[in-house]
């Protein structure tokens, strides 16, 4: 154990900020989370130097798993350059000397993300860490964690299904937009973090390990590779992802790269017109590059 070796001076920080005992504890929780897919493993979340709610749970996972030679990508809202992603990446660079960072999804071995799963399918050698504000999908129907634990143990999700049903009665539509409750490996229902519904099907039988870290709520859970992930739905009311068709029923395209099969961000141009663009910046860049090189070949 070299817990003290890097933490001698008042200003010197250990590799990965946390002391080695803390990292070991987190890795143990990760192993348990993988062994029981979808089960929320409690752990003694440490205070990080950024705000609770800014990704401290995800960051603790990243810092506990990171090794020298790791290639890390950090995104927020699909973007590498959003303020919080930059902040977390700089912190990782500062506290993990020797680790390299990238914006390319394909190059990363460890990806920490808030609110998105990258569009490019992940590979078996990659780990996705998602930041989680509310780890428990049952919190919308039961405020007491003590009671929720019993419901999870018994796979009693009836009140959640009733909530979906009430939505249909009232709106003829399930109104859960993001954080869509998803059943893992046929038992535990998870809150997949505030990813859009668009991203939920990509958890199902994914090649990569997905880890969920809730720092403030002190929970870690996992969707291991090649594991069933099924959004809650009814046989006559199927689960539906976000609809990006225009009034004429045509799929909108990214205004920048032209992609018609990615999650789009909507905003208003200076002229007041609605513009749509890929939410995943690396995906958009890659598509654009391919388009330009094709154009170059043609010329």
């Amino acid at each position: 154990m070299n817990a003290m070796s890097h933490t001698t001076g008042g200003n010197a920080y250990n590799f990965g900020f946390l002391d080695e005992y803390a990292k070991k504890e987190i890795r143990r929780a990760v192993l348990k989370a993988i062994a029981i897919p979808g089960y929320q493993v409690p752990y003694a979340s440490r205070e990080m130097p950024m705000g609770r709610g800014f990704g401290t749970g995800g960051l603790q996972l990243t810092l506990a798993l990171i090794g020298p030679g790791e290639v890390v990508k950090v995104i927020d809202q699909g973007s590498d350059d959003s303020v919080n992603a930059v902040n977390l990446r700089q912190f990782i660079e500062m506290t993990c000397p020797g680790v390299s960072t990238t914006t390319r999804t394909a190059e990363a071995s460890l990806i920490q993300s808030r609110h998105r799963i990258p569009e490019r399918p992940l590979t078996p050698t990659q780990i996705l860490v998602l930041q989680v504000p509310y780890p428990d999908p049952l919190v919308v129907v039961e405020p007491s964690e003590d009671k929720r634990k019993i419901m999870h143990g018994e796979a009693d999700y009836s009140r959640l299904l009733v909530k979906l049903y009430e939505d249909i009665v009232q709106f003829d539509e399930i109104t859960i937009s993001h954080r869509y409750p998803t059943r893992i490996n046929g038992h535990y229902v998870i809150d997949p973090s505030p990813i859009p519904r668009w991203d939920v099907p990509r958890l199902d039988h994914a090649a990569a390990l997905t880890l969920f870290g809730a720092g403030r709520e002190k929970k870690i859970y996992a969707v291991p590779p090649h594991t069933r992930a099924e959004p809650l739905a009814f046989s006559d009311v199927p689960f539906r992802v976000e609809d990006f068709r225009d009034a004429a029923g045509r799929r909108r395209a990214c205004a920048r790269c032209g992609c018609t099969d990615s999650f789009l961000d909507e905003f208003s141009s200076d002229a007041g017109e609605k513009v749509y663009q890929c939410s995943d910046t690396d995906w958009c860049d890659e598509k654009l590059l391919r388009k330009e090189s094709l154009r170059g070949e043609a010329a």
Binding site: D19, R52, H115, H178, P196, W198, E242, S279
Partner: protein
């Protein structure tokens, strides 16, 4: 076309840090007399700010607490946060055994239960009976006058010999059979061996139901205002503790640690603490048992009396809730313990300032779809 949505994050962060640092040092603009705030000045002249930060930070490091106050421009939530984050980098090497607070070197000690208590009441430093009038003469305090005050006060003090320890008021009540017996034997003294069995909230998550020691530890580093608000709800009628302060003491508690080789306890230093014990109306210990008063306990680092009293009241309320089921929010362990941490609550409140473009896009999709459907004939 360039990427519109989120760009330039790195530059924005650097800029925000620079302008914050400008605010901290702005006084020095064209003002040769301006001096940076010394850590020592904060430690002494803003001592209650430091008290609050060591308590909520959960680490007894007054110097770093003062540094945290300085770098956060006096924001106590931010300062406690920085201290906590620093604490995350330190391994836990050992734990103290339960420490005997009757051995506190007191600066203040009162009981509102009895006019006379063994050892006597000692008012000490408190604003409790002061008139809260603005002391306008402090606006232009001269350094000479400032130095004279402390010197004159010490000079006029009689050489009183205070005893090393004061008996606890609760002990007298306990001896009379008015309180339940102590669940554990008395704390250990120097030379004895022993290990703590207290729940360590820094190494174990709260999984409910939690032992009382976990509740006490959580409240000991809770945010003062949060604790006060929930305790106040109990005092006002959302609860029925009706406490009497049996004893409130403030002072320096000797800290004992086991010697790394022999295991014998040795004094390694002292920490400034506030401790409050409240007595509440009685309850039967068990069916058929003799009724006794009930006790609530509060203690925290630093001189923080409102916090210690709030904690003692909530300890009593939570014990009642755990025994009979919670009848009010202040009696519900999950409600109280998961909502009083300043680092957690301020962090989460702040996170709403972060971008939520993706989830809001998803919200828009649901609203538009349901709007569309509600417009259609059924």
């Amino acid at each position: 076309m360039s990427y519109v949505a989120i760009k330039g994050g790195g530059r924005a962060i650097t800029g925000a840090a620079a302008v914050t640092e400008f605010l901290r040092t702005e006084q020095g603009l064209g003002n040769p007399a301006a001096e940076p705030l010394e850590i020592d000045t904060i430690l002494h002249q803003l001592r209650h700010l430091v008290d609050r930060v060591v308590s909520e930070g959960g680490v007894y490091h007054p110097q770093f607490a003062a540094l945290a106050v300085k770098q956060s421009l006096g924001d106590t939530l931010e300062a406690a946060f920085a201290l906590r984050a620093w604490r995350s980098t330190r391994p836990r090497l050992t734990a103290t055994p339960p420490l005997d607070t009757s051995r506190m070197r007191l600066i203040r000690r009162i009981s509102s239960a009895f006019k006379e208590i063994p050892g006597g009441q000692m008012l000490g430093p408190t604003p409790d009976y002061a008139l809260r009038l603005l002391r306008l003469e402090l606006i232009d305090e001269s350094p000479d006058a400032f130095r004279a005050v402390a010197r004159d006060w010490l000079g006029s003090c009689p050489e009183a010999q205070l005893p090393d320890s004061f008996p606890k008021v609760l002990d007298a009540l306990r001896a009379e059979g008015l309180l339940p017996p102590l669940p554990h034997p008395r704390p250990l003294s120097p030379g004895e061996r022993g290990e703590s069995s207290a729940f360590d909230i820094t190494r174990e998550p709260l999984v409910f139901p939690v032992p009382r020691s976990a509740a006490l530890a959580t409240m000991a580093r809770a945010e003062t205002g949060s604790l006060l608000a929930i305790a106040y709800s109990n005092m006002r009628g959302y609860g029925d503790v009706h406490p009497t302060v049996a004893e409130l003491r403030v002072g320096y508690l000797p800290v004992l640690l086991p010697h790394p080789v022999t295991g014998e306890l040795a004094e390694v230093g002292e920490v400034l603490m506030t401790e409050c014990e409240v007595v509440a109306m009685y309850a039967a210990t068990e069916p058929g048992g003799k009724p006794v008063f009930t006790v609530g306990y509060g203690a925290c680092f630093g001189h923080n009396e409102v916090k210690a009293i709030s904690m003692a009241i909530l300890d009593r309320a939570l014990q009642k809730g755990m025994q009979d089921g919670p009848a009010n929010p202040s009696e519900d362990p999950e409600f109280v313990l998961l909502h009083v941490d300043g680092v957690d609550s301020m962090g989460f409140a702040s996170h709403y300032k972060m971008p939520h473009y993706v989830t809001f896009q998803s919200d828009l999709d649901r609203l538009r779809t349901t709007q569309q459907k509600s417009g259609e004939p059924a």
